[in-house]
């Protein structure tokens, strides 16, 4: 049993954070080793160190028995380490072949003497790509442009990219974040095939279920430390969850039964186009009533983003109607939608939800600064604004040195709390929450889930859009599944199973029939 990779005593400090604290990690040859931990535990940091993107402050790395230093991705690649990042490292306007040979370009022999200015040899690289794709069962089209490909296809390209560079050790960072349960299963099949052919695989995840499906061993990290390594046969989800968080975790949200009342949001035959003029929301109809949570499940990229934008007035509606509380908001501006009583937790808190350069105080009134009591006519009333800010910071337990600290200095969880505080501090009739807990630690996730259920219990209608099936299943009263711009079906949350939802998310409406 040779160790493909061994890391001992790895320590990495960032300003204010100890990301890795004397971490030990071993990867055996031909094994699939899962690295589990919640957001912020340090798993990505460790892997980035192994791939040469960061340098450890302390510690030693050994590859195939030889102690070594990995100072750049170049070194890592040379040592046979390949990485598939969570956010794909592909250049969209280039072809698959060009992406794969980037950094290690093949040139036409005759022109080789010109060095960087010699002629690219796309043909031989394309041939090699086809070879690899047959060998490992990874379907790729060498001549396609990356921007035209599906997410699953892009992921396969990333894997081929690593194999092209003769990687024996593959690091996969949250590979299933963008896949349906079925696509994830297909990926696991590929992983097992790779392992059987001698590759050693590390795969990072925060989803407990997956590790049982494919891992040979599981290592758990928490708060920068390696907590322990177990075999799947010896572990349970509760045990792993406790290792991940450090205390007993309630894996399901405690909520009372829903008492839906009048209809708040009604969407009828909605059609929305995306930036590239594709109809990403295609004839969608649904409604949400006061006091219930409608969860929209589905892999990202099936129109959820455009749906949310259309509902909140940020994107033009091509066809159809949206009614909130009886008002026709189909062509309303964002401000009008808010004034009708809508609160919106956007999916990208840095881009959409906050102005990072502004203080917390200003971010908390971002949607309401223009009317009383925060403004008298055209002038802002700062004493009132500051009082409001102090109150919200207390009520929502936002950890910040002061209300004048810039939002950019807060942690992800606290930033999200600022957004939630801002949105829920108004009287809310309709709450639209998009990926509300993405990238957050368990404590913040629990907090936000509680707030969402609280809003529902106070009589708001909640539309929850999330790619995390667990979140949808634990919070929703009803679950709609979105696939390629359609709502395929709406199920009752009590009776829906993961398998049912997974099939719908993959576009399978009846047994075997694809949409």
């Amino acid at each position: 049993m040779t160790l493909a990779l061994q890391a001992s005593g790895i320590t990495k400090r960032f300003p204010g954070v100890l990301a890795n604290d004397h971490v030990n990690f071993e990867l055996e040859q031909g094994e699939i080793h899962a690295l589990l931990g919640e957001n912020g535990a340090g798993k990505s940091t460790l892997m980035n160190i192994l791939y040469g993107l960061y340098q450890p402050d302390e510690g030693q790395i050994t590859v195939n028995g030889k102690p070594t230093r990995i100072t750049s991705p170049h070194d890592a690649i040379a040592q046979g380490i390949g990485m598939v990042h969570q956010h794909f490292m592909l250049v969209p306007p280039l072809t698959v072949t060009e992406n794969i040979m980037l950094g290690q370009e093949s040139v036409v022999g005759a022109t080789q003497v010109l060095g960087g200015l010699s002629v690219l040899d796309r043909r031989s690289v394309a041939a090699r790509v086809r070879e690899l794709s047959h060998q490992y069962g990874l379907e790729v089209d060498p001549d396609a442009f990356v921007r035209d490909l599906t997410v699953g296809a892009q992921q396969r390209i990333e894997i081929v990219k690593a194999l092209y560079r003769a990687a024996d050790i593959l690091i996969l960072d949250e590979p299933t974040a963008v896949l349906t349960p079925q696509e994830a299963d297909e990926l696991f099949v590929i992983m097992r095939s790779l392992a059987k052919q001698g590759k050693s695989i590390v795969f990072i995840t925060h989803k407990l279920r997956e590790v049982f499906a494919v891992a040979d061993r599981i290592s758990v990290m928490r708060a920068g430390q390696m907590v322990g390594t177990v075999k799947p046969s010896e572990a349970t989800t509760e045990m792993l969850a406790e290792m991940m968080v450090g205390r007993k975790v309630i894996l399901t949200v405690d909520k009372e039964e829903a008492h839906p009342a009048e209809e708040i949001l009604h969407v009828q035959n909605l059609r929305v186009m995306d930036d590239r003029k594709h109809m990403t929301v295609d004839d969608v109809s649904f409604s949400v009533r006061a006091g219930e949570i409608l969860g929209v499940a589905g892999v990202q990229g099936n129109g959820q983003t455009e749906l949310t934008e259309a509902l909140t007035g940020l994107r033009r509606v091509a066809d159809g109607h949206v009614t909130i509380l009886g008002h026709d908001t189909t062509h309303a501006t964002p401000r009008q939608v808010v004034e009708v009583g809508t609160a919106h937790i956007p999916e990208d808190r840095h881009k959409h939800g906050l102005v990072l350069a502004f203080p917390v105080r200003d971010n908390l009134v971002l949607c309401s600064y223009y009317h009383s009591p925060f403004a008298k006519g055209v002038e802002l009333d700062f004493p009132v604004i500051e009082k409001q800010a102090e109150e919200l910071v207390n009520t929502f337990d936002i950890r910040t040195p002061s209300i004048n600290t810039s939002a950019g200095s807060l942690s992800g969880g606290n930033q999200q709390k600022v957004i939630v505080a801002r949105e829920l501090s108004r009287p809310v009739k309709l709450l639209i929450a998009s990926q509300p807990t993405r990238g957050l630690d368990v404590g913040s996730i629990e907090f936000i889930h509680q707030r969402i259920v609280e809003a529902r219990d106070k009589g708001a209608a909640v539309l929850l859009i999330s790619a995390e099936l667990d979140e949808i299943m634990s919070l929703s009263d009803r679950i709609a599944v979105m696939y390629k711009g359609h709502i395929l079906d709406t199920l009752d949350a009590e009776t829906a199973t993961r398998e049912q939802l997974g099939l719908l998310m993959a576009g399978v409406v009846k047994e075997g029939a694809h949409v």
Binding site: G40, F358, A375, V378, P401
Partner: protein
């Protein structure tokens, strides 16, 4: 992974130190720029003595010689207004380098309106002319603003092009339709005296006209009200009381100021060119400060500048704000041109081939002052003094005025890249997320 920067614990000591460092940076930038300038003079003249004479001439001309300080202040005024124009744009994420063109258009509008009417009293004619200049500048900047808002046309290029169009257009107007038939030089006719900006020396004479005294009284009333609202908001909460006091002050001004100034007035020299445009500029600075930091409109502008996507989410109309910001910026620049014609120019007109060179300097000033209106007041004085002193410097030492431009561009370099100064002096950078407008990143495509 959670954000790697967390809030640093702050102690009073380290806060004080940081404040000192922050103030030191512009000072260091200044010193370094001057040292480099001295080096250039040394190298090109080959004589250390020339450096000394040059700087002595500079300081003498700027501050010490009779009416040196007042001339420096005269040169400061257009800088203040132009830099405010640029700063307003920056705060909203827009790069208005067309300030110089808007300056010209404002000047030409003012030159026209100033002489188009005869016999209008100053209380009407002066605000009318100022308004015309501001409007001209606002429209000239509003066009690129509109184009950017509707089509995404990048304002760096479109405002730059509008500059060149403005130069040619103004040239054309001054040479043909608006040419003064009575003057030997190619220039517009002199504006009527009612439209001129009063020089401080002239005030006692002006105040003898009751309409002018009324105008001054009205201004005093307004200023008093604003002052009371700001300083004594709690002690005098009732509107009626505030207005009462303000009106009282206005009445006293109307009745008492004219005779008082005849008895005693600290600006006796009739050749002193210092004019009331200075007050206008200071008021503009306060106005911009109030607009940007105290109003909902300014809040929206700054949000658009800091994060336009979040601004949309907050319900802010990006289109409306882009156009509004460009219009305000253009109005300020147009006002600068107006002040130039009505207060600075000797002929109270706009001559041909009038080259101001103020445009790029004001970008430097805005950056040096970090877009803060009060910093702009200080930095504008610095530039104005340097510009004024440069003539004397050239007279004394023969060193060309352009070395001042070089020093100013170095200053801009250090202002734009404080990191460069830090690197030169090995000062450690502090990790702060400062409120900086993302003065665009690129061409905004896709």
């Amino acid at each position: 992974m959670s954000s790697a920067t967390r809030a640093q614990p702050t102690t009073t000591q380290s806060a004080l130190l940081r404040m000192l460092v922050r103030a030191a940076m512009p000072a260091l930038a200044l010193v370094t720029a001057f040292v480099l300038g001295a080096l250039i003079i040394l190298i090109t003249s080959g004589n250390l003595g020339t450096v000394g004479t040059a700087f002595r001439g500079l300081i003498y001309g700027a501050l010490i010689k009779p009416s040196g300080l007042s001339e420096s202040l005269v040169a400061t005024v257009p800088y203040i207004l132009l830099s405010l124009a640029v700063a307003v744009g920056f705060k909203a994420g827009l790069f208005n380098i067309g300030a110089e063109g808007q300056f010209y258009i404002g000047a030409i509008c003012a030159a026209f309106v100033g002489q188009a009417f005869h016999g209008l009293p100053a209380i009407i004619h002066l605000p009318l002319t100022l308004g015309a200049g501001a409007l001209g500048g606002a429209i000239w900047a509003g066009i690129p603003g509109y184009l950017k808002a509707r089509t995404g046309a990048h304002e760096v290029i479109s405002t730059m092009m509008m500059n060149y169009v403005a130069f040619r257009f103004a040239e054309y107007l001054v040479s043909f339709p608006l040419k003064d038939p009575l003057a030997t030089a190619v220039q517009t006719p002199r504006v009527s005296s009612a439209a001129e900006l009063w020089t401080f020396a002239d005030i006692p004479a002006r105040l003898q006209d009751p309409l002018n005294a009324l105008a001054v009284a009205l201004v005093m009333t307004f200023l008093t009200y604003v002052l009371i609202r700001w300083l004594f908001a709690r002690r005098l909460p009732h509107r009626l009381t505030r207005w009462g006091i303000a009106v009282a002050v206005g009445l006293i001004t109307f009745v008492g100021l004219p005779p008082l100034t005849r008895l005693w007035w600290p600006f006796p020299d009739q050749y002193d060119r210092l004019h009331t445009g200075l007050l206008l500029a200071i008021l503009a600075a306060v106005g911009v400060w109030w607009l940007l930091w105290k109003t909902t409109i300014g809040f929206e502008m700054r949000t658009v500048g800091a994060n336009p996507t979040a601004a949309r989410y907050a319900g802010v109309s990006i289109t409306r704000n882009i156009i509004l910001v460009m219009a305000i910026s253009g109005a300020l620049a147009g006002l600068a041109g107006t002040v130039e014609v009505l207060g600075v120019s000797i002929c109270r007109c706009l001559p041909l081939f009038f080259s101001s060179g103020y445009g790029f300097d004001s970008i430097a000033i805005a950056l040096l002052a970090n877009n803060n209106p009060f910093g702009i007041l200080a930095a504008s004085f610095l530039f104005g003094a340097m510009r004024n002193g440069a003539d004397t410097m050239e007279l004394y030492s023969g060193v060309s005025k352009y070395v001042i431009s070089v020093i100013q561009s170095l200053l801009l370099l250090f202002a734009a890249a404080p990191a460069v100064v830090r690197w030169m002096y090995r000062i450690k950078a502090e990790r702060r997320v400062e409120e900086e407008a993302v003065a665009m990143r690129g061409w905004g495509g896709g």
